[in-house]
Symmetry: C2
Subunit: 321 residues, 2 copies
């Protein structure tokens, strides 16, 4: 079986977006449901998703485990897996881990850029690693079946999450820093440790994570995939596009600032380029998977390897959750 | 004027407790209103306090600034100042700092033992210092007039809070570690930096912070005060008894564990001694201020120094808020 999976999107969800994902033949998408929302606010988002799932039940349904990826393929639909980019919904309550799992959560970042109650984000000056509460939460996430996602975390915290977690962890959306040294991209040592522990990397198509940003060439991206496969097992590389289709710029401002600052932070952007960056021509939306497929063929990957990168590796990872 | 101030109590509040504090001639008490409660839960606590303040208006009233300490003395009442032992009520929202100030908050710990969104607690393995959000919150606390309290914080975080805060900070309830090396007590270097920056230490009467615990001798306590005055300016030493009068043991379990752990943490206690420790004979409640006064006289402090330690130093500190 060949599965196509985009393991991170945060689009302005609409029928149009779900149709595009179907045209791209995506069998599964891990969608970001919340960033900085607390538990009650997460429940409100779930209500919005109930409506989306209901109104578009010919295109999508809520995925619970890897079998729903198989089901999606056979029904020509896209399975939607819920995830959080910050740990705000569990607040300071270990029992909420089980609760959010019951409500559909399958991925949770321990931190989004800043320090959280669990670990340190990549925008902090010092990285103290996984906290006391963080250790408890990792154990509970392992138990109930929520994947630890360290995409926005600082390095020491990520190494510790790999060490403390009994199940493989994920970096759902980031690229190697050897290719493009952005704050959010990951060191080769870290990627090796991730792969060695059974964890998986979702390569990002978000321009700030790409060499040359919006002008990044497909060839350069595919060359990067080949070099990454020298560091990591090729079976532990997938796609997590970080696609934010149709989102207004206010959303990226909120993602970066939440409610924690009086002044404005521009994150990966800058004052003059504060909005969402423009996607490269070859990945304007999920239909860009076809371009990546072509590019990977051209650079010499075997078909089985390409199938892995475009979805089968994520499918196999879902089996471990 | 001679003021008597206990700058930290977390009693099981009742008319009986307020009467004892009046018998002890306390003009002001900084009371812990919340530990791990979020903003909504803090509002509930405020409602409870509204009733307490109303039902006991012949004994207590809500204090807003140092003038209310003067008012309390002239009216023979005790001014109650609200404080938080954790930063949970401001959640992840910088604008809630002003809101909690409006609702009466005058002291807030940046952390309670564990890592918070602001800084590191003294029970964490690594101390990353004040976080990005922490810097923003310190600035806002300075602006609106809430004192930064680092009683339960780790050392590097405390040094940084002293450095980043434009106003003097407080350690409302702890003792020097040279006397009793408990995790919650403070190093001489830290106490010196606190004093040099205009900050103040409230000496604790909580048995886990005392040499010999429950069996601590008054002479030993007073000798410690004298040695502390060799490190810090004697004008920056006061009392923050940490008195938990009439609290059931469930409360200390909750203080230590909040909702963050599946297993049980005993904090400063142990499995066999998990409850509140017994107070020493000479400080069973706030009337023990008289015993401390006698002890400080005996060891050779001048009257003006003793008046400072028992309340005037805190009164002067309140003027800086």
């Amino acid at each position: 079986m060949k599965f196509k999976i985009d393991n991170l999107q945060y689009c302005n969800w609409s029928r149009e977006v779900f149709e595009i994902n179907r045209k791209a033949n995506l069998d599964a998408v891990h969608v970001t449901v919340v960033y900085h929302q607390d538990f009650d606010e997460f429940c409100t988002e779930i209500k919005n998703w109930d409506k989306l799932l209901n109104d578009n039940s010919d295109l999508i349904f809520l995925g619970k485990d890897y079998k729903d990826i198989e089901k999606a393929k056979s029904e020509k639909k896209t399975a939607i897996f819920f995830g959080f980019q910050n740990c705000s919904p569990i607040e300071d309550d270990i029992d909420l881990v089980k609760k959010v799992h019951e409500l559909g959560c399958r991925f949770m970042q321990l931190t989004y850029n800043n320090q959280s109650l669990l670990a340190t984000g990549c925008y902090e000056k010092f990285d103290s690693g996984v906290t006391n509460f963080g250790r408890e939460v990792i154990r509970e996430m392992n138990r109930v079946g929520i994947v630890i996602d360290m995409s926005h975390s600082a390095e020491k915290s990520t190494f510790e999450a790999i060490e403390f977690s009994e199940k493989p962890i994920a970096i759902t959306h980031a690229n190697p820093s050897f290719w493009h040294p952005a704050k959010r991209n990951k060191s080769s040592d870290l990627l090796k440790a991730l792969s060695d522990s059974g964890g998986i990397l979702g390569l990002s198509l978000y321009p700030h994570h790409l060499k040359g940003n919006t002008n990044c060439k497909l060839d350069s991206f595919c060359e990067m995939v080949a070099r990454t496969a020298d560091i990591m097992s090729i079976k532990h590389i997938g796609i997590g596009s970080d696609l934010c289709l149709n989102q207004p710029d206010e959303v990226v401002t909120w993602m970066r600032n939440g409610t924690w600052s009086k002044s404005k932070n521009y994150g990966e952007g800058s004052k003059s380029k504060s909005g969402f960056p423009k996607q490269p021509e070859w990945f304007k939306d999920a239909r860009g998977f076809d371009n990546i497929e072509e590019g990977l063929k051209k650079i010499g990957f075997a078909e089985i390897e390409i199938d892995g990168i475009l979805g089968n590796n994520w499918y196999n990872f879902y089996k471990t959750i």
